[in-house]
C-alpha cells in the first residue's frame, strides 16, 4: 500500500457524510457484546467460580510476604498453635523450573529464596480447604531477617551508596540526541528551567487479582484468572514449571478492570496458584483482598523530569534538554519499555530542532512498578505541558499561543527524526478546545471575579499525543496472529488472545468482523480466551487492540470471503444464511472454516533500537484538553469543575465505547492529579485500604465533555488508531495549569493535595515568576 497523501485525508476528514467511508456496523454504537450478562449480574469473575461441579476438591491459597524492604532471611518459624499438617506449604525449593517470572528480563523471583528486595515480597504459599483459616496461619509464621540497607527513592538510588540491582541500580537508560543542543544556549533569547515530579498511582480496579490453577502430570498446568495477556502468563508458567507450550493452558475469565495492572502481575499469582496446585494435587484458588492487592501489586512508576529549554524571542523552541528519572521498584519488570515511552513523549507535540534526552529507570527497594494506562507518557506529558506554561509566562505569551507557535505539522520531524507524514490537526483541536470551553471569555471573567471571592477559578490547557501501538519494532517482534473461524453453529467466532476488561474488545472486534464479512453484529461472537483455542494475537496493552488486532480481523474477514468465493461458491452478494451455507460446504471439504492473518508492518516504518531513531510509532492520536478548576481558599482544595477533551483518534469504531474510554481515562487522571497518593513507610504502603487511598466518587467527577475528530489511519482497522491510554495523558498538567491560572501559584508535583497547596500559602516561594535569562 502506498504512503497515503495527507491531502486525501484532509478531504475525508470533513464533516460531510459523503466523505466518510461507508460502513454499516463499524462506527455505530452497538450494544456491548457481553453486556447482558453484566447487567444481569450473571457474568462470572474469578471469585464467582467455581460453578457447580467444576474444580472439584478445590482448596484456597494465601501468600506469606516480607515485612522488611531488604534483607536476608535467617529463619522461618511456624507457630505450633496452628495444625500445620492440615496445610500445604510451598517455598522456592518447590519450584520445578526457574525461580523467576519471565517478562522482558527474568530478575524477579517467583518466590524469595534467600534475599528479600521489597516489602510484601512473596516468600511462602499456604493452602487449606477452608479459606477462613488462612489469615490466621499466615499471621502465625514469623520470619527472622538480617536486614540490609534499603533504597527508598530515586534520589537515594542515584547516590549509588547502596547498590540494589545490577552494578549501578539502573534498569535501563536511553540517550537521544537530535541536532546540537550545546550550540544553542549561548545565543538563545531565553532559557527556562523546571523540575516536575509525579507520584506512584494504584490501578484500583474494583476486582482484585485472582486465579484458579489445576495441575496434573498428564495435562500439565491450567490456570483461569483475571488477566490482560494470556500468552504472557503462558510464557511465564512454561518457565516456572519447566513445561513445554502444549502443557500449559491459560484461560481468561471475566475481568473486572485492569488498566495495565493485570498485564504482568497475573504471571506471579498464576505461578503461585500453580505451585500450590502441583504440591496439593488439587485445584487451588488464590484471590487477594483489597489490602493485599494494594500493598503487593504493581503501581505506576513515580517520575522526576528536569527541563532546560531555549526559546527565541517569539517563544519558538530552539533546544530542549530533558532529564528523566523513573522509579522502577525492586525488579525490572516493564521499566525499560515504560522508560522508552516516557522518553519518546518527553518533548510534547512540538517541533524542536535540537533535543537531548537522557532517561534512566532506577531500582529501589519498593514493590516493583508496572504497566498503567499511559505507560510513561502521563509522566512525561505532565512535565512538558507544565513547562510550556512556564515558558509562556516567562515570555508573557498566552498558553494557547505558545503552543500554536510550536505545534508539529505534517512534514515536521520529531525528536527521533520521525517525519510526520500523516495529517496533524493540532491547530484545529486547539481551536475547538478553546471554543468548547469558552476559554478566553471564562479566563477573563474569572480573573475579574477571583479577587472578590474565596473561590478562585481558572482554566488550563494541555496539548499532547500518544503513540499508538507498540514502540518501533515491537509489533514486528510480537508477530501477532489472529482471525476468525466458523464452527458448525452458524456463528462467526473471533479468535484472539486479546481480552475484554471493560474497554470493549469483544464488541469492537465483533463489529469489525461483521463489517468485513458483510454480516450482522449478532452473527459474530468471540471465542473463549483460552490459549488452547486462540492464537497469540499479542497482549492487550499499548492501545493496540482496535488498531492492530482489529486490522488482522478485518483482513481475516476479507480473506474468508475470498476463500468462500473461490472454494464454496459464495455468491457476489449474499445473505447470512447463504454465507453460513457456503461455510458448511467449505467445512465439508476442508474440515474446518478458519481464516487467520499475521501482522504486517505498515510501510516506511523503520525504527533503530540502537540509535534510538526513526519511526517510533506508526501513527499517533492527538489531543488538546482544557481543565476548568475551582480553588477554595478556605480549605486549600482544588477541584475540577469541567474538563473538555478534544482528540483526533482515527476512526471512531463505536462512539459509546470511545467516549467511555475518554471519560474513564479522564476520571482516572483527575485522581492522579488531585486525589491519589501512595503513602509508603519504609517501603510498605500504609494507606492500603479503599478508605484512605482516595479515588474520585460520583460526587467528585466533573462534567466531562468529549469531542472527536477523525482522520482515518490507513493501517488501522477501518481507520482506527489507539484510544485507551490517550485520555490519561493530558488532564493532570491541564489541571495544574488551571490551578496556576486561578491562584497565581505554580505547582510542579502531583498528586497535589490541599495540604501541599496550603504549605505554599504559608510560605510562598520567593521567586514565583519563572526564571528567564
Amino acid at each position: 500500500m502506498l504512503t497515503p497523501n495527507p491531502q486525501d485525508f484532509l478531504e475525508t476528514m470533513s464533516d460531510s457524510p459523503t466523505h466518510r467511508p461507508q460502513t454499516r456496523i463499524v462506527g455505530t454504537p452497538q450494544i456491548r457484546k457481553e453486556g447482558v450478562d453484566k447487567v444481569l449480574g450473571r457474568a462470572k469473575y474469578i471469585d464467582d467460580l467455581p460453578g457447580e461441579g467444576a474444580h472439584e476438591g478445590m482448596w484456597h491459597g494465601a501468600t506469606v510476604r516480607s515485612a522488611i524492604p531488604r534483607g536476608r532471611i535467617r529463619a522461618i518459624h511456624f507457630n505450633p498453635r496452628i495444625p500445620w499438617s492440615e496445610f500445604v506449604i510451598v517455598s522456592a525449593t518447590d519450584i520445578p523450573g526457574e525461580n523467576h517470572i519471565a517478562m522482558i528480563g527474568a530478575d524477579q523471583p517467583c518466590l524469595v529464596s534467600e534475599q528479600v528486595n521489597h516489602c510484601d515480597e512473596p516468600i511462602l504459599l499456604l493452602a487449606h480447604p477452608d479459606k477462613r483459616r488462612l489469615p490466621e496461619a499466615v499471621a502465625a509464621i514469623r520470619i527472622e531477617y538480617d536486614p540490609l540497607p534499603a533504597v527508598l527513592s530515586i534520589e537515594a538510588s542515584e547516590t549509588l551508596q547502596e547498590i540494589v540491582w545490577g552494578n549501578d541500580n539502573i534498569f535501563k537508560q536511553f540517550h537521544l540526541e537530535k541536532g546540537n543542543v550545546d550550540e544553542v544556549w549561548a545565543s538563545a533569547a531565553h532559557i527556562v528551567e523546571g523540575e516536575y515530579s509525579t507520584g506512584a498511582q494504584e490501578h484500583l480496579y474494583i476486582e482484585n487479582n485472582g486465579m484458579i490453577a489445576e495441575y496434573s502430570e498428564e495435562t500439565g498446568i491450567t490456570v483461569w484468572g483475571s488477566l490482560q495477556c494470556p500468552y504472557y502468563v503462558h510464557k511465564s508458567l512454561m518457565s516456572v514449571f519447566a513445561l513445554p507450550a502444549d502443557q500449559v493452558r491459560v484461560i481468561q475469565v471475566e475481568t473486572g478492570g485492569a488498566f495495565g495492572g493485570k498485564e504482568d502481575y497475573p504471571s506471579i499469582i498464576a505461578s503461585h496458584a500453580g505451585l500450590l496446585a502441583m504440591k496439593a494435587k488439587r485445584p487451588i484458588k488464590i484471590v487477594y483482598d483489597r489490602t493485599e492487592d494494594l500493598a503487593a501489586t504493581t503501581k505506576r512508576h513515580p517520575s522526576r523530569t528536569r527541563h532546560r529549554t531555549a526559546v527565541d524571542g517569539n517563544g519558538k523552541l530552539l533546544a530542549m534538554e530533558i532529564d528523566i528519572a523513573l522509579d522502577g521498584g525492586a525488579y525490572a519488570t516493564l521499566s525499560s519499555t515504560v522508560l522508552s515511552r516516557a522518553t519518546l513523549h518527553a518533548t510534547g507535540p512540538y517541533v524542536c530542532p535540537n533535543v537531548r534526552i537522557s532517561s534512566k529507570a532506577w531500582a529501589t527497594s519498593t514493590v516493583p512498578c508496572g504497566a498503567f494506562r499511559g505507560f510513561g507518557a502521563p509522566q512525561s506529558i505532565f512535565a512538558i505541558e507544565r513547562h510550556m506554561d512556564k515558558i509562556a509566562l516567562a515570555l508573557s505569551i498566552t498558553p494557547d499561543e505558545i503552543r500554536r507557535r510550536n505545534f508539529l505539522h505534517t512534514g515536521d520531524t520529531t525528536a527521533t527524526e520521525q517525519r510526520m507524514n500523516e495529517p496533524i490537526i493540532l491547530d484545529t483541536l486547539l481551536e475547538r478546545a478553546l471554543k468548547e470551553s469558552d476559554y478566553h471569555a471564562k479566563r477573563k471573567l474569572f480573573a475579574g471575579q477571583n479577587s472578590r471571592s474565596p473561590v478562585k477559578r481558572g482554566l488550563g490547557l494541555a496539548a499532547f499525543y500518544h503513540g499508538a501501538g507498540f514502540t518501533g519494532s515491537g509489533e514486528r517482534y510480537l508477530n501477532s496472529l489472529a482471525g476468525i473461524d466458523v464452527p458448525a453453529n452458524n456463528k462467526v467466532r473471533v479468535l484472539v488472545a486479546n481480552t475484554e476488561f471493560g474497554q470493549g474488545t469483544h464488541t469492537i472486534l465483533c463489529q469489525i468482523a461483521a463489517e468485513s464479512l458483510n454480516l450482522s453484529y449478532d452473527d459474530v461472537e468471540v471465542a473463549p480466551c483460552d490459549t488452547n483455542v486462540v492464537p497469540n494475537s499479542g497482549p492487550t496493552v499499548a492501545s493496540r487492540t482496535s488498531m492492530v488486532v482489529g486490522r488482522l480481523i478485518e483482513r481475516s474477514g476479507h480473506q474468508l470471503v475470498s476463500m468462500l468465493r473461490e472454494r464454496a461458491s459464495l455468491p457476489e452478494t449474499y445473505s447470512a444464511p447463504e454465507f453460513f451455507a457456503a461455510c458448511d460446504r467449505y467445512r465439508n471439504r476442508q474440515g474446518k472454516v478458519e481464516s487467520l492473518c499475521r501482522y504486517e508492518a505498515p510501510p516506511n516504518i523503520y525504527w533503530d533500537d540502537k540509535q534510538y531513531r526513526g519511526e517510533a510509532y506508526p501513527t499517533f492520536a492527538w489531543a488538546v484538553y482544557v481543565a476548568e478548576v475551582a480553588f477554595d481558599s478556605v480549605t486549600y482544595s482544588a477541584e475540577v469543575t469541567n474538563l473538555y477533551a478534544v482528540q483526533e483518534v482515527g476512526r471512531v469504531l463505536n462512539p459509546t465505547l470511545a467516549a467511555g474510554q475518554i471519560e474513564g481515562g479522564v476520571a482516572q487522571a483527575i485522581g492522579y492529579a488531585l486525589y491519589e497518593k501512595v503513602l509508603l513507610n519504609n517501603g510498605h504502603m500504609v494507606n492500603n485500604q479503599m478508605t484512605n487511598y482516595i479515588m474520585p466518587t460520583a460526587a467528585d467527577v466533573p462534567p466531562i465533555h468529549v469531542f472527536f475528530e477523525e482522520i482515518p489511519f490507513a493501517y488501522g482497522a477501518y481507520g482506527a488508531k489507539g484510544i485507551g491510554e490517550l485520555p490519561h495523558d493530558g488532564p493532570a498538567p491541564a489541571i495544574l495549569n488551571a490551578i496556576q491560572d486561578a491562584t497565581g501559584h505554580s505547582f510542579t508535583a502531583i498528586p497535589l493535595l490541599p495540604e501541599d497547596i496550603f504549605l505554599r500559602f504559608l510560605a510562598p516561594t520567593p521567586n514565583e515568576e519563572p526564571v528567564a535569562q
Binding site: 483482598d289 485500604q689 484512605n692 495540604e755 496550603f758 504549605l759
Partner: protein, 292 residues
C-alpha cells in the same frame, strides 16, 4: 477477608432488658454491635478483638425519634438514614441533618447508628460537633438504671468515655431552642463523599445588633476527641463583629486546638483550616459586606 466468623459468638436478644441483663451479667465480655459499619470493617481486616458480640439491631426501644414541645429525643439505635428523613430534625436541628447526610454513603447511612458514631469515639466522627453546639444531653442505660449527662461531658479522651461496660446509649436529647440561632456546619474531607473528616466546624450563634450574644463552637479532628471550643467562644462572646474580633478569635482557636499529623492530613493544615472555617462562619454572621 481476614476475619473468621467462626471465631466470634454473636447473639441477639428479644428486647433491651435482655441485652442489658446480658451486659450486666458479664461486664466487658459482650461487645454490642448495631449497624456494624465499624465492627464489621475491623472483622474483615482481621482485627476484631471481640470474641463475643451482642446485636442491638432492630431493638425498638433504641430506635425512635420522639418529638416533644421543648426537646427531641433520638434513640441511640436510630440510623443516620432515619435521622435524615425526619422533617422536624431537619427544621430544628439542620446541622444534625446535614451531618447525617455526610456519613459514608446512603448504604452506610441505612445502617450506621448515632450511638455507634458516638461510642466508637473517633475524634473525626460526624455527628458529635452538631450535638455539641446543640447542647445535647446523652442518656445512658444499664440494668442498674438510666442516667443523663451533658453530651459535652461524655468523651474523656482518645476513644475513652464515661460509658461503663454494662451501659448502652439510650438516647440523645436535644433542646428545641436553636431555631433562631445562626447555624453553620462544614466538613473538610478527602473528597466530597465517603470521606473521613480532616477538620470540621459546627457553630450556633445569636447576634444582636452586630454583637455576638451567644455562641457555641465544636470541632472534629482537632483534638483527641470531639470538643467544644470554649476558649474560642469566650473570645467572641459579647464582642462586636469586626476584623479585630475575627483575628483574636482565630488566634484563640489556633491556641485551643491540638490536632495531629496522621495518614489523612497534617496538624498544621487542620489548624489553619479550622481557623478559616471559623472566619467563614463569622463572616456569615456579619451584616457588614466590607468584611468579605
Amino acid at each position: 477477608m481476614r476475619g473468621n466468623p467462626e471465631s466470634h459468638e454473636l447473639i441477639g436478644a428479644p428486647n433491651l432488658s435482655a441485652v442489658l441483663a446480658q451486659l450486666s451479667a458479664a461486664p466487658g465480655q459482650w461487645t454490642p454491635i448495631a449497624g456494624g459499619t465499624e465492627l464489621m470493617v475491623a472483622h474483615a481486616a482481621g482485627r476484631l478483638n471481640a470474641p463475643k458480640l451482642i446485636s442491638l439491631w432492630g431493638l425498638s426501644e433504641l430506635n425512635f425519634v420522639r418529638i416533644a414541645d421543648n426537646a427531641i429525643s433520638i434513640g441511640g439505635g436510630a440510623t443516620f438514614g432515619q435521622i435524615r428523613k425526619n422533617a422536624v430534625i431537619e427544621t430544628d436541628f439542620p446541622l444534625l441533618s446535614k451531618a447525617a447526610s455526610w456519613i459514608g454513603s446512603i448504604a452506610n447511612q441505612s445502617r450506621a447508628t448515632i450511638a455507634g458514631n458516638i461510642v466508637n469515639g473517633s475524634p473525626a466522627a460526624d455527628a458529635p460537633p452538631a450535638l455539641l453546639v446543640y447542647d445535647a444531653e446523652i442518656e445512658l442505660i444499664s440494668a442498674r438504671g438510666a442516667r443523663r449527662l451533658p453530651y459535652a461531658d461524655f468523651h474523656l479522651g482518645y476513644k475513652r468515655s464515661v460509658l461503663q461496660p454494662d451501659e448502652l446509649v439510650l438516647a440523645l436529647h436535644l433542646p428545641r431552642r436553636f431555631s433562631t440561632h445562626r447555624q453553620y456546619l462544614r466538613k473538610v474531607g478527602t473528597r466530597k463523599a465517603m470521606a473521613i473528616t480532616k477538620a470540621a466546624l459546627a457553630a450556633t450563634a445569636i447576634v444582636e445588633d452586630g454583637v455576638i450574644a451567644e455562641i457555641r463552637l465544636a470541632a472534629a479532628s482537632v483534638a483527641e476527641r470531639p470538643v467544644r471550643l470554649f476558649a474560642t467562644e469566650a473570645s467572641l462572646i459579647g464582642k462586636r463583629i469586626n476584623a479585630s474580633t475575627i483575628q483574636s478569635a482565630r488566634d484563640a482557636l489556633l491556641s485551643e486546638v491540638r490536632p495531629i499529623d496522621d495518614i489523612r492530613s497534617t496538624a498544621q493544615y487542620r489548624k489553619q483550616v479550622a481557623a478559616n472555617l471559623l472566619e467563614e462562619f463569622i463572616h456569615e454572621l456579619s451584616p457588614e459586606p466590607s468584611l468579605a
